[in-house]
Symmetry: C2
Subunit: 906 residues, 2 copies
């Protein structure tokens, strides 16, 4: 038997089902499913997506078998609807719609009212006693058909404004002018009848062909046109962008027309089975009496609320369907319940009431915002409608993220003009007064003012001011610039690289596209989109105290297996992260005590150490630095009592800490007792051409072991003191930038020696600690088996691994990476979302080899990717023990970890 190409649905029975989306497209599959559920659906049939492929293969020719299938299905529609296609007495009209596997909104074509011609028009007028409705329907058919079938599908490419649709609309305008009316609705039946005649003449003149009068010609023309539209220019471009395969093809849905505009007992509406804005389990929608679907969508008439629940102050006076047609509403509400139970999700439905009879025209999973998604997932899970895993997958990372930041009120945003655009570096909204320096930011914040720090770009010396601000805006830098990294770490609203901005620091003027703002002026940032607005736009709180959020996180935790730690450099960060559910610290950067608040004194000691001329001077400076380092570490270990804290030894190249400002240089020269010239000589010696691949990380420890020793001693002594105070510190000593096992062996020897020294000195016999390494150098991945002989844990430093693996300098990639993403050479900035193909394989190699040597090796990831959903799922798949991310990303990571498990179980 040959393949089935046509799937009928109607009379409570359908050939297809909801899970046949690939074959029938989303729309067709759902129509079949609803029919099977006994829900009233106008009868129809779906031509498969495979037929579309066939159509192209056979260059538009059909087999007699296929034609016979269509004929048979059409007979069934006629039987089901009790009407006949092309029958002047009781004519059946059809709609022809596309329906792809994956939604391609507005990209393909639809033709309604197919089957109207000179003779069926008369029959329908007789039957409906509504000539205006009929002529209007015919007018619409001519417009759609000539446009879609006779022009586009024929491959004609008229200039803009000269296509047939535009020319027909011109005729309509002429007619309106002639009749002295403004709206289409004011034209009479006679007007429309005349217009149809004019239209048909125009079509013949412009396209050189008669408008077809044979209903079957119309039908086949429509089917062809839908197939043809699959390869329309816009559709092809859309698929290129969305990476939808071109060989999927579209299905064609041919369905009996029903009309919501047949009089006062007709109506049409759209609804959601739950409130898509809040997630509340309430039927929510709109309807219009005596109207067609497009009238609701087009917004020409204000629709009425579906039910009492949906009434607002503004709509309280409007009649709801619930009130006006309680029986029909009850029927609809039952369908709603049936569909939700069946689909186990919130649905978006379309219905039409034709002369008192309810028809369902569409049902599909409904779109929702973040808070609603979370609430629905929690409530559906609680009521056992869905499993925990399904609940986890029902919320996208972006939706969860919506709950974590105050946002700019979307309504207000819609009405405002964008001042400038940049990269969305820190999500959420912020509104404050412009300041141009970190000092100003601090000063104004002290006065209780909300400020937005605006800089060309930021550097570590701005950190204080960044903390004081409510938002950060920079003209330069990318998604991984200093500003972006700091802001994400703090969960702060931030826009970077807004290239249109020009900043005049001297005059304190910020301008963009000809507009100017002064310091102190208000601006509002939408950090989720990267939009800057002039003035104060209202912020709304997405879900600060959202009870469903907490319940949802609990569900996630019960599903996931991957641990989630945080990157925290201070005890304060650590406490914040604990609130967000962190299970330890995956990255504590010792160098961060030299930035920001309270950093002045330790930074000056560090600088002395860096610029000392020999080991002696260095040893002295290290001794002075020691108590600061120890206290810093101790406070964080204490805050994370009982939880592991991975402490990374000094990582950046030393030159980064050399002061650049004159006053500070002079101060340092004084402390060191050296001339400015000598200072410059020493500073120059530290300068590097490619510092990212220079003298940093463990390389400092190999050349100056005393620096590593000082830090290791601080960690172990801090731990010993906490143990004496009955605490449970769990430090993990982490060596950065390792490429050779020998580097680790040397550091391990220092650890062991210092441990024994500290143990002897404090009387704490055994200070528990783990010794491990960052894996952030490509070579380290390849020799991970050897490295695991020494390291008790690996922590993947995916930022550096991405830099070295790609040879992309994060600081400099702004010159080409945006072009790469734009040209789709890369699906995404690999510093935002891990490049799973390349860098991911390096990680996999390291995981495999590390485990081969040390079965129970702890494996984690620190670095920006630990908070990126796709990257977190990758980490779960390759079998890491934990991910670590900034405190504010911890919930996202917990969720993504759960999604990974849920997906595996599917």
């Amino acid at each position: 038997m040959s393949k089935k190409n046509v799937y009928f649905f109607g009379d409570g029975k359908a050939d297809g089902t909801a899970d046949m989306k690939n074959l029938l497209g989303g729309k067709g599959a759902n129509l079949a499913e609803m029919t099977n559920l006994g829900i009233p659906v106008p009868a129809g049939f779906t031509i498969t997506t495979e037929m579309c492929t066939e159509y192209y293969k056979n260059k538009g020719k059909y087999t007699p078998e296929f034609k016979a299938e269509v004929d048979a299905a059409l007979k069934k529609i006629e039987k089901s609807m009790g009407m006949k296609f092309g029958d002047p007495g009781n004519p059946l009209l059809l709609s022809i719609r596309s329906g792809a596997r994956s939604s391609m909104p507005g990209m393909m074509e639809t033709i309604l009212n197919v089957g109207l011609n000179e003779s069926t028009i008369q029959g329908l007028i007789k039957k409906t006693n509504n000539p205006r409705f009929v002529w209007d329907s015919y007018r619409r058919l001519i417009t759609m058909y000539s446009d879609v079938v006779m022009e586009k599908a024929a491959g004609l490419e008229p200039k803009e404004g000269e296509n047939i649709r535009a020319q027909l609309e011109e005729e309509m305008d002429k007619m309106k002018k002639a009749r002295g009316v403004k709206n289409d609705t004011e034209l009479t039946a006679e007007d429309l009848q005349e217009l149809c005649k004019i239209y048909k003449e125009k079509v013949k003149k412009v396209l050189g062909k008669e408008f077809p009068d044979d209903p079957m010609d119309q039908l086949w023309g429509g089917i062809n046109a839908v197939f043809q539209s699959w390869n329309g220019k816009r559709a092809v471009a859309y698929r290129e962008i969305e990476k939808i395969p071109h060989d999927w093809g579209t299905a064609v849905n041919v369905q009996a027309m029903v009309f919501g505009n047949m009089g006062e007992d007709s109506a049409t509406g759209v609804a959601f089975t739950r409130n898509p804005a809040t997630g509340e389990n309430q039927f929510y929608g709109e309807w219009l009496p005596n109207a067609q679907g497009e009238d609701v969508v087009a917004g020409i008439r204000t629709p009425n609320p579906l039910n009492v629940y949906g009434k607002t102050e503004q709509s309280a006076h409007l009649p709801s369907l619930e009130e006006k047609y309680p029986k029909l509403y009850k029927q609809l509400d039952e369908i709603r319940k049936k569909l939700e139970k069946h689909y186990t999700d919130m649905l978006d439905i379309e219905f039409t009431i034709q002369e008192g009879k309810l028809w369902m025209l569409q049902c599909r999973v409904g779109k929702r915002n973040g808070p609603a998604a979370v609430r629905m997932a929690v409530e559906m899970c609680k009521s056992r409608l869905i499993s925990k895993e399904t609940a986890v997958l029902r919320v996208s990372p972006g939706q969860l993220d919506e709950l974590l930041h105050p946002i700019v009120d979307p309504a207000a945003e819609k009405k405002s003009k964008i001042f400038a655009k940049g990269l969305p570096a820190g999500p959420g909204g912020a509104c404050g007064q412009i300041v141009f320096t970190a000092e100003e930011a601090v000063a104004m914040a002290k006065e209780g003012k909300k400020v937005i720090l605006v800089r060309e770009e930021t550097n570590p010396e701005d950190v204080e001011g960044m903390r004081a601000a409510v938002g950060i805006l920079t003209a330069r830098g990318g998604m991984t610039s200093h500003a972006a990294l700091v802001a994400r770490g703090w969960g702060m609203c931030c826009i970077v690289g807004a290239g249109e901005l020009e900043i005049d620091y001297r005059k304190k003027i910020l301008s963009a596209n000809g507009q100017k703002l002064k310091g102190g002026d208000w601006i509002t940032l939408n950090g989720t989109k990267g939009y800057v607005y002039e003035g104060q736009l209202p912020l709304i709180d997405a879900a600060e105290e959202n009870e469903f959020f907490n319940e949802f996180m609990k569900i996630c935790d019960s599903v996931r297996t991957l641990k989630v730690r945080t990157n925290a450099d201070t005890a304060e960060d650590a406490r914040t992260a604990l609130k967000f559910g962190a299970e330890g610290i995956g990255l504590f950067r010792t160098e961060h005590m030299f930035y920001g608040k309270g950093a002045e004194v330790p930074l000056s000691k560090l600088r002395k150490m860096i610029l000392s001329k020999d080991q002696n001077e260095r040893a002295k400076a290290l001794e002075e630095l020691y108590p600061f380092v120890k206290n810093d570490i101790k406070a964080t270990l204490e805050a994370m009592d009982g939880l592991p804290v991975t402490i990374r030894l000094l990582d950046p190249p030393l030159h980064e800490f050399v002061p650049k400002e004159k006053a500070e240089i002079q101060k340092l020269c004084g402390e060191l007792g050296i001339s400015q010239a000598e200072f410059e000589r020493r500073a120059d010696a530290l300068h590097e051409l490619n510092p990212m691949m220079g003298h940093r990380g463990v390389r400092l420890g190999i050349t100056y072991p005393e620096i590593s020793e000082m830090q290791i001693r601080a960690i172990l002594e801090a731990s010993a003191e906490l143990i004496q105070a009955k605490k449970k510190p769990l430090p993990e000593i982490m060596i950065p930038v390792v490429s050779l096992v020998g580097e680790l062996t040397e550091m391990q020897a220092i650890c062991k020696r210092v441990h024994d020294e500290v143990a002897a000195a404090t009387g704490v016999k055994k200070i528990p600690y783990l010794f491990g390494t960052m894996i952030e150098i490509p070579r380290a991945c390849l020799v991970a088996d050897k490295i695991a002989e020494v390291a008790e844990f690996f922590s993947f430093g995916t930022n550096d691994l991405t830099q070295m693996g790609f040879g992309f300098s994060r600081d400099d990639a702004g010159g080409f990476l945006p072009v790469y993403v734009e040209k789709k050479l890369l699906p995404e900035d690999p510093f935002n979302s891990l490049d799973q193909e390349g860098i991911g394989e390096l990680i996999q190699i390291a995981v495999e080899r590390g485990r081969k040597t040390r079965k129970d090796i702890k494996l984690g990831i620190c670095g920006e990717h630990g908070g990126d959903p796709a990257s977190v799922e990758f980490c779960h798949r390759v079998g890491l023990t934990y991910v670590s991310c900034s405190p504010f990303r911890v919930p996202i990571a917990r969720h993504s970890a759960a999604r990974a498990v849920a997906r595996e179980k599917k």
Copy 2:
């Protein structure tokens, strides 16, 4: 049966053989082998290296079985030599010598004359009638034994100058003073007898023990001491450095003493079976009548030439062994022939004639210099003594290298004081007058003077001056600094990073260690060792016209399978490389036309292009640049007619070409019609923090496709023109810095389009070219399977791959890499010799995956490693098609490629 620990040799039969080096040590194995060959060797036995390990395991205790083995072997010696150990009438004396698997010269101990005591002394005097000889032998025994056995082996650690040997020498000096004589030899038998008494008293006083009189005590003390010396401080340190495993242990050779100093019919000598300085197949050595081995070595007496061949002007009057004892000489010459035939190599032998009887004491493979090694390999191969593969392996890369550079006369060097030391960046010798700037260098060279360019470090603007100089000396920079790279590329003598140097450019003074030199003063560089000498040292030509060199290279070529290409940026380089046997160009760097001679005009055009403000300006500048690029490429393609030429598109970050000097900046501003401020703005925009991982290579091609297009057009048009001129250009277009297959796809599209355009324009229907990529980014190795879908060849850029793979910036690694090499964290600077473990695996992965996609993919390596012997062998092993290196390294690469095959066949 228990393990055999003692291997006897003597009377033409030995328990061991030459291939038992691991068990018997090098010396013992060869003594056994000679014995088996019927060569007269004083009888003896070897205690195995395994026994040494046993000795340490059992804390110095021996089993009775072992002692019995030694006793039995001793009996055999006595029988063979017809003497008895400890027999006053006919005493046998023994030597006890160490002998490890791998030579550890001077690191372990030797004791001679064991067996002498109060009673055997008398017997020996009677037997030899030579009391002075006997007492002198006893004196030597006491000195050696007390030092080696009683002090060192006992673990005593006296201060320097207070050890027993020093104290005994003091006594000797006293005696000489008392007797009023200068030399030991002037002391009489009676003096020596008295001295022995004083020695023995001193030994007892200082070491608290009697000097042992029992020969067996002496024997066992000696054996223990040799075992003990295996773990002497110096020996352990030596093994650490040479990476010799500590558990190998040493063997002990106990052998009957024979004496060359028993009178005028006794003699001793050392010889080489061929001339080790020239390789000539002539017996070559020295001998001394009535002397012991150490007398020849110590140089107190001038030794005589072994034969007439060995006579020089200075030694013509001295008696040769050949003349004086023709029969003995003939016997020795026969042994020489026998040994060479047996060992199939040139040997270094030691012999002693005792009272007219010839004894062989040692034979081992002889050391030789480069020219000799090459000549011997060629001649032995020709005479079928060795196979081609063996011939190839007989010459080390370093030895071959000796032939490729004029060198400082070693004799003159020995007598000169080193002025300063640096890194040996370019081998060979050079002698010239000091100049401090490139301009001076050019000017003086024009006057026909030989100059050495001395700089803090060099940069591309010095290239002209570097070319003009005969040698380069820099105070800073490492083995891969600009100076080093350029010099190696040209095969030029160069020393870099001579940190002791201080250069005062203003005063034109070069100082080091307190010494000063002025501009115009002569200095001599030994670039092979990194030594700088004041003044003019003579240079000698290693083998400019060495006929054996050419024959040797032919042998190499017949053995190797790996192709050898060259890195050449000019037609001139290309011609040089052809002379050295290059089989194509593996790397032609388009950007190198902007450096050095004739670069001024194209460089100014390039700068215009780089600093243009938009695509329009850029397009214009590119058009102006085009003819230069095309001509440059055409000349090189023509020079390599019929051979492949891999042309790399623009690689370095553009900022590298931005002028730094005021005059040039002004000139450029004039050309561009922009202000200095505008220039700075544009130059700043190009500046990068980590340019090595920045906007360069194919990234330039993606963001500015017009740059790639210009170059591709130049290549294809040049080729088309050559084809029209009946030439056979074989260009290979190579894209650098690729990490994503998409990058290549875009470039390939440009290639195809431009090809068709050029083909249409020129009428050359098909311009043959290959399209391929550098593999120099770690990620590219991992996705090599995908990349090979587009690339027809890979060329591994191991410089960058090493940089990214390790995260080592070549320019900055000077701060830590030397420490890494010193600490043995790395066996060698990975920029000199490929890191086979890590970077090598990346290459292997790429090779495997590339071949999987494209079976016949061409695989090569360009970059510095292509001229490094170990790296070349690696390339052969992983199956590359070719290596490419600088013209002067081509012979080294050809040789190493042959060595790889030869090693495989072994």
